[in-house]
Amino acid sequence: MSHIVQIRAEGRQALASKGFGTSAVASFDDSAPLKLDCDRDLAPFEIAYQTYGTLNAAKSNAILICHALTGDQHVANTHPITGKPGWWSTLVGPGRPVDTDRFFVICSNILGGCLGSTGPASIDPATGKPYGLHFPVITIGDMVDAQVRLIDRLGIDQLFSVIGGSMGGMQVLEWAASHKERVYSAVPIATAAWHSAQNIAFHEVGRQAVMADPDWRGGRYTEAGVSPRNGLSVARMAAHITYLSEDALQDKFGRTLEAREAKTFSFDADFQVESYLRHQGSTFVDRFDANSYLYITRAMDYFDLKSEHGGILANAFKGTKTRFCVVSFTSDWLYPTRESRAIVQALNAVAANVSFVEIESSKGHDAFLLNEPELFATVTGFINSAADRRGIAPVAASSVAPRPETT
């Protein structure tokens, strides 16, 4: 594993110089460009990633966690920018459902992202300036291809599991469809095999909000020393509504006024829900690049595993030996249960080994990131039984740490 250590050391240095904290970076030079779906080659490129736990001698215990639209590689460690716990630290960590005492967990910033992996904010070697809109339009398939390069670099033939929610779930499906032999088990959560018209529509609203901000400057805002904060903030506000549910909003805010006794008869944030959304928007722009937001939402819109396989989703999974665990949430209207069921139907049509759990929750799409004991129980049961079949050693009883509180 000395090469990994080396990559890590190089990566830390590279990232530290960019102010991205402690992520490792795998660099890929001009010798093997990434062939993108848009028919362009991308080289050089870098993938920033975090790892947790130890890769076993057989290299059979590696789990790849795929992050969602605005996520990043900091799945289980304190975020270097926000200082908050990792975005899935309830699911991943010592003694957690994805137990880093048993598994070697990898989480990389997606291609097109803005936390250390190559994206539109990176320097275009052809011009010496940030790519901006000269960055190629990427797809979920391209993101996965970049992850494949990283997994190759880490010397891992087969991932024990690929796990992700939302756009992360799309990557899980892409891995399972395009790299069948390299995925022992797959957990697509709150996701879909193709992006619906409604979801494309919401993304378009977000993109138009960004591009309508005069500070966007045709994507060249960095050179101008500005940032389309207002546009990106509005995009985040609109998107955030889609991550919740009507019941969740009603329960959390109702019509409660924000720190005032009466309506102000103005366009100030009178209601708590307004103030909450404004806060969501303004904190988001501190940690996210506007052009990345355009590119990643586009990649999601283009995702359609069904049309890529002759209009029959089952063809995507023909001959699969991967064990699947598909999870949806009752109140998720962005990726409703019927879309998970379509995945399950396709898997059944090829007699794949599949579990499917719909979890009762009022929290909408965001439920996959929250404290949902049934999700934890499902993932724990599925992962551990698959790991036993794969022959991955259980955590030694003597080394079991007291389980951290999940609340």
Binding site: A349, V350, V357, D388
Partner: protein
């Protein structure tokens, strides 16, 4: 399609489950339709090392099965069996479920399409206690085997052993084995005529195979 309450998985295995475990070849691919809390799948995994899958309609039971390490999907026999390809499994099992399906004939045909063998167990409505209650009281029978009153029973399509044999003939299924259990869980002698099984058997377990394999639909 709610099933009757099943015992917890650490309880002693049900006699019909033990018989099914005896019928299933070791290492086979098995689909348990209406798998409930997964007791049969656990038993088959333990005793026969099968590659088992389950379908269950009740969400909480599905989640408990998956958390327990079983491969189970939330679904229902009437709707979801048509998704599977032909001969995907060695055995498709319908344990005390067929009487609760909307279209038992279609479900049975699907079982025989997707698996080489279908194993079906059902409560026998021809049992003497059932006949006695209907004959003497003129009321729908409520027995330990059929505990729900008619207005709360999930069982929309109850049948007798003779009825089931007739359905097998109708859909060209060959009966490989048929076993009836009396109220104390003992197997009735196979030498007894079917009329006796139909009168004394409280539950029946049939193993079926298609007379001629149907092509893909």
């Amino acid at each position: 399609m709610m099933l009757q309450q099943l015992p917890p998985i650490d309880a002693a295995p049900r006699v019909d489950h033990l018989l099914i475990a005896e019928m299933v070849r070791a290492g086979a691919r098995v689909l348990d339709v209406g798998c409930g809390d997964g007791a049969l799948l656990h038993l088959l995994a333990e005793r026969r090392q099968v590659d088992g899958r389950g379908i269950e309609v009740a969400r909480d039971r599905v989640n408990a099965c998956v958390a327990g390490g079983l491969s189970v999907i939330q679904g229902d026999a009437d709707r979801d069996l048509s998704e599977y390809p032909d001969a995907a499994f060695d055995y498709a099992i319908l344990s005390l479920t067929i009487q609760a399906t909307r279209q038992p004939k279609v479900v049975l045909q699907n079982l025989l399409r997707i698996a080489r063998h279908a194993i079906v167990s059902f409560p026998n409505f021809g049992h003497w206690k059932v006949r006695q209650q209907l004959l003497l009281r003129g009321r729908m029978p409520v027995t330990p085997n059929l505990p729900d009153p008619w207005y709360e029973s999930p069982n929309g399509h109850l049948c007798t052993i003779k009825d089931f044999v007739a359905l097998c003939e109708l859909i060209d299924a060959r009966i490989e084995r048929k076993v009836a259990f009396n109220a104390s869980g003992q197997q009735l002698g196979t030498w007894l005529p079917i009329t006796a099984h139909n009168f004394l058997g409280e539950r029946a377990v049939f193993s079926l195979t298609p007379k001629t394999r149907t092509s893909a639909r």
